[in-house]
């Protein structure tokens, strides 16, 4: 019974892996095209042609590109992301803590944003074209239209400077108590929530409205169900596939797109790590972070696809 669905899911996962490999090639190629190389960057001002040649030999930079690519890929697959040039530290070790920080922030932003967006979407459909709908849509669109750094600074101005409820700088460290940690991320999580809310809410509204024209919604109304129950029980389950899709896209954004927010709140996550090392032209770090972001993005999209497949009763229960 479940064989067609398993096949579809296996296909999606295989496609995702192929895609990720393609992205790794692109990332590697992209960093090769940039002028200068690691040896130049390490030696900087003190570079002489001899020392450059020596270092290149030492780092294996004289090998053909494809050999270097596979060497890099092999390292990535065994958990060795290489060494940061700027600090000489192992990239995998320094990323671990930061990735965890980013996921922590994204998780709590999502815990607030996703249910809120879907509930607001349901309410907007219930009172569609009335003032409630317009108010919800208006506020959500406004919050998305403001750039996130603007929202970030407005939050800092009111909550950190004026009323001094939350810290304006989200410093977190290992072994920080949970309560303090939550207090520290309150403002960046709020900023992120405001940024992703409207997109999800508008899609929920549109997806459900699309289904509201169906004959089975009329059937439900003619059974005497209340307007909200018609939406919740009969329209929502059939609108779930597009909603999962947009939710996953926004979750991906919460992890991959947080760069600006992390910088504003000086939050020690992946985004800030990336920005720091881009300015230092630390190619191995940029490669590693780029690959991790791509992996997150692709896996969340695979999850969205699988969610849409599983949500389809025709695939779940074939004839």
């Amino acid at each position: 019974m479940s064989s067609p669905i398993l096949k579809l899911i296996a296909q999606r996962i295989a496609l995702g892996i192929v895609l990720l490999l393609a992205v790794s090639v692109l990332i590697f190629a992209g960093t090769q095209i940039l002028p200068g190389d690691v040896a130049q960057a390490i030696l900087g001002q003190s570079a002489t042609p001899e020392s450059l040649a020596n270092l290149r030999e030492q780092l294996g930079l004289n090998d053909p590109a494809y050999i270097r690519y596979f060497r890099w890929l092999g390292g990535v697959l065994t958990g060795d992301l290489g060494t940061a040039m700027s600090s000489g530290q192992d990239i995998a070790t320094s990323i671990k803590g930061r990735l965890w920080n980013t996921l922590f922030l994204a998780f709590w932003a999502a815990v607030v944003a996703v249910p809120l967006a879907i509930i607001l979407g349901l309410i907007a459909v219930r009172y569609r074209n009335g003032w409630v709908d317009k108010l919800i849509s208006g506020l959500a669109l406004a919050s998305t239209s403001f750039p996130e750094f603007f929202i970030g600074y407005v939050l800092v101005y009111f909550f950190a400077v004026k009323w001094q409820i939350f810290p304006g700088i989200s410093t977190v460290y290992e072994g920080m108590p949970f309560g303090e940690r939550m207090q520290a991320i309150a403002l960046p999580a709020t900023a992120l929530t405001l940024v992703v809310l409207a997109h999800m809410m508008r899609m929920t509204r549109a997806a459900i409205l699309n289904v509201m024209q169906s004959a089975y919604v009329e059937t439900a109304e003619l059974k005497g169900l209340s307007a909200f129950n018609v939406i919740r029980k009969h329209a929502f389950p059939n609108a779930i596939a597009p909603i999962i899709n947009v939710v996953m896209l926004n979750l991906a954004y919460l992890i991959v797109g947080v760069v600006v927010v992390e910088v504003i709140f000086v939050y020690p996550g992946m985004g800030q790590y990336l920005v720091d090392h881009v300015t230092k032209r630390d190619v191995p770090v940029v490669q590693a972070v780029g690959l991790i972001f791509a992996a997150v993005y692709i896996s969340l999209n695979i999850i969205a696809d699988i969610g849409a497949i599983v949500a389809n009763p025709r695939l779940r229960h074939p004839k």
């Binding site: 169906s214 004959a215 089975y216 009329e218 059937t219 439900a220 109304e221 003619l222 059974k223 005497g224 169900l225 209340s226 009969h234 389950p237 059939n238 009763p313 025709r314 229960h317 004839k319």
Partner: protein, 551 residues
């Protein structure tokens, strides 16, 4: 005010019902239109009233008003709807909610669309009962299973565990009837419950509905455009047109002694005289031993099919849905290249694939479809639509083209003024006429008509058939006429091919095919066509030799 005292035994009393809607014509300010003009009706407990008329007559609108429901912005603006002794229009939203699904239930035209694809059938069947708290879940499910049995559904104990897509259309229609009966309402509104079904399936569903109504003593409003169908189930019939009452009387009186001219037209609608033409000496198109399949030869949909078409004649292809009628058309036009067999045209074989055929071959074979409105580009005017084949096949431009478009519009009995209109501004019959003109514009030898009258009201369909016959005489064009409606076949065909599960089971001149002795399948098809006679249904069910496929 009139006296509101209810007569004993009276269930529904609609008085001077007026229903309006606001329409938004393109480029004009919104307009108020009246859909139902002061219609009154009464229905006693346990009786069935048939509402009949063409689309736009207000049948469904009146039916739904008994539940206080207006589709898409439709408003009840006057009159009273007295159900069980009280005016439900005064009850407000909460009042409507309490009576919907409890006192009045609804059976929709397309059960396939009216069931929620995301939930199991049983959950949907008992939903209203549980919502109104008239039974516990266990009781409601027991009742539902009993109803499934009564409506002779297969596996009544377990069919409720299925999802809608796992059950056929005819079965879904019966499950929907069970859903309406489950909460033991006083009144059921049946809105064209068998229109979307094959004739052979329709007869089963009709019989099941009739038995269920009789045994549960529920009253019903039975809405349909098919007088022969409504004559089988109702005690009284009300004929409506343009939202006004035309005639209301007992079933026997309406079908035997109609008093109004319009009713008379409805009763005698299928009678077109068409003398059969003898097959000529040589067919211009011959289909030889064609086998075709979908999904890489997994599912054979045509098995060894051979038919001939003679110049200026009509070959009708009949059968239930899934019998391969439309696939035959796709094979002939090259849309679905056959795996084996050939199509010969004018003595030479046609290329199997559409892409391999020269323009001239494409011109000779044209098609008209069931859904005229989706077969036209909504952003093009009628003139552009009809002019397109003139440009494409004959390179006509400018005034020459416009002149020809005007001629063609004239041929389909539509004035020159239609040339600048958009499809959305036309009625269903007019749209189909435009499609006919478009196919004629190519001056083809053969037009394939795929269920071209199935979506139309009987009177309009009749007009289209007459037009097609007239055009055949004028232009000497041949038709391959695909239909499931045997009455249409009788009025238009010269020869007939009966298809069943991908095979031609009976083929020959009309007079031979429609004369006994019949094979079992042709007999089933012929005996399933509703006749305008009281008691036909019982006779037909008794006399059947084979069961329908149950689509």
């Amino acid at each position: 005010m009139a006296d509101t005292k209810a007569k004993p035994g009276l269930l529904l009393d609609i008085r001077n019902l007026r229903i309006e809607a606001t329409v938004f014509p393109p480029g004009e300010p919104p307009k108020n239109i009246v859909l139902v003009h002061d219609v009154s009706l009464t229905l006693e407990k346990g009786k069935v009233l048939g509402l009949i008329g063409e689309s736009g007559a207000g049948k469904s609108t009146i039916g739904l008003s008994s539940m206080g429901y207006g589709r898409g912005g439709v408003r009840i603006t006057g009159g009273e709807v007295i159900l069980n002794g009280r005016d439900i229009l005064k009850g407000g939203k909460d009042g409507f909610r309490k009576l919907r699904g409890r006192e009045v239930c609804y059976v929709a035209q397309s059960a396939a669309a009216a069931f929620n694809p995301a939930h199991r059938l049983m959950d949907q069947v008992v939903e209203a009962t549980l919502l109104h708290g008239t039974a516990t879940r266990a009781e409601a499910e027991k009742r539902a299973v009993a109803l499934f049995k009564k409506l002779s559904l297969p596996n009544p104990e377990t069919i409720g565990e299925r999802f809608p897509h796992q059950v056929s259309g005819g079965q879904l229609q019966r499950v929907m009837t069970a859903m309406a009966l489950c909460s033991e309402p006083d009144l059921i509104v049946f809105d064209e419950p068998t229109t979307a079904l094959d004739v052979t399936t329709q007869i089963d569903v009709l019989a099941a509905i009739k038995d269920a109504i009789r045994d549960t003593h529920v009253a019903a409003l039975y809405i349909t455009h098919d007088l022969a169908v409504v004559a089988q189930v109702s005690d009284e019939i009300m004929v409506l047109r343009h939202g006004r009452l035309v005639e209301w009387g007992g079933t026997r009186q309406i079908i035997k002694e109609p008093r109004q001219e319009y009713t008379n037209a409805l009763v005698s609608v299928h009678e077109i005289e068409h003398a059969e033409q003898k097959p000529g000496t040589a067919p211009f198109l011959s289909v030889k031993n064609i086998t075709a399949a979908y999904g890489g030869s997994h599912i054979k949909v045509l098995k060894n099919v051979s038919v001939d078409i003679y110049p200026g004649q009509t070959l009708a292809v009949v059968g239930e849905s899934g019998s391969g009628k439309s696939t035959l058309a796709r094979a002939i036009t090259g849309l679905l290249p056959p795996e084996q067999g050939t199509v010969t045209f004018d003595g030479r074989p046609l290329a199997n694939r559409l892409a391999d055929r020269p323009k001239e071959d494409l011109r000779q074979l044209q098609m008209i479809y069931q859904m005229a409105d989706v077969a036209m580009n909504p952003r093009q005017t009628v003139g552009t639509i009809i002019g397109r084949p003139l440009e494409f096949y004959f390179g006509m431009r400018g005034r020459e083209r416009d002149k020809r478009v005007a001629e063609l519009l004239d041929k389909i009995e539509m004035g020159k003024g239609f040339s600048d209109r958009y499809p959305a501004e036309l009625s269903g019959g007019q749209k189909q006429r435009v499609c006919i003109a478009r196919s004629l514009a190519a001056k083809p030898k053969l037009i394939i008509c795929d269920e071209v009258t199935s979506a139309l009201d009987p009177l309009v369909a009749n007009g289209i058939l007459k037009l097609l016959l007239d055009l055949q005489k004028e232009e000497n064009v041949a038709y391959l006429f695909i239909t499931h409606d045997l009455a249409t076949v009788k009025s238009i065909a010269d020869s007939i091919a009966v298809m069943y599960r991908g095979e031609v089971v009976r083929y020959g001149p009309k007079s031979k095919v429609l004369a006994p002795p019949f094979d079992a399948y042709t007999d089933l098809l012929l005996s399933s066509v509703p006749e305008m006679e009281i008691g036909w249904l019982e006779k037909a069910i008794k006399g059947r030799r084979m069961a329908s496929a149950g689509n």
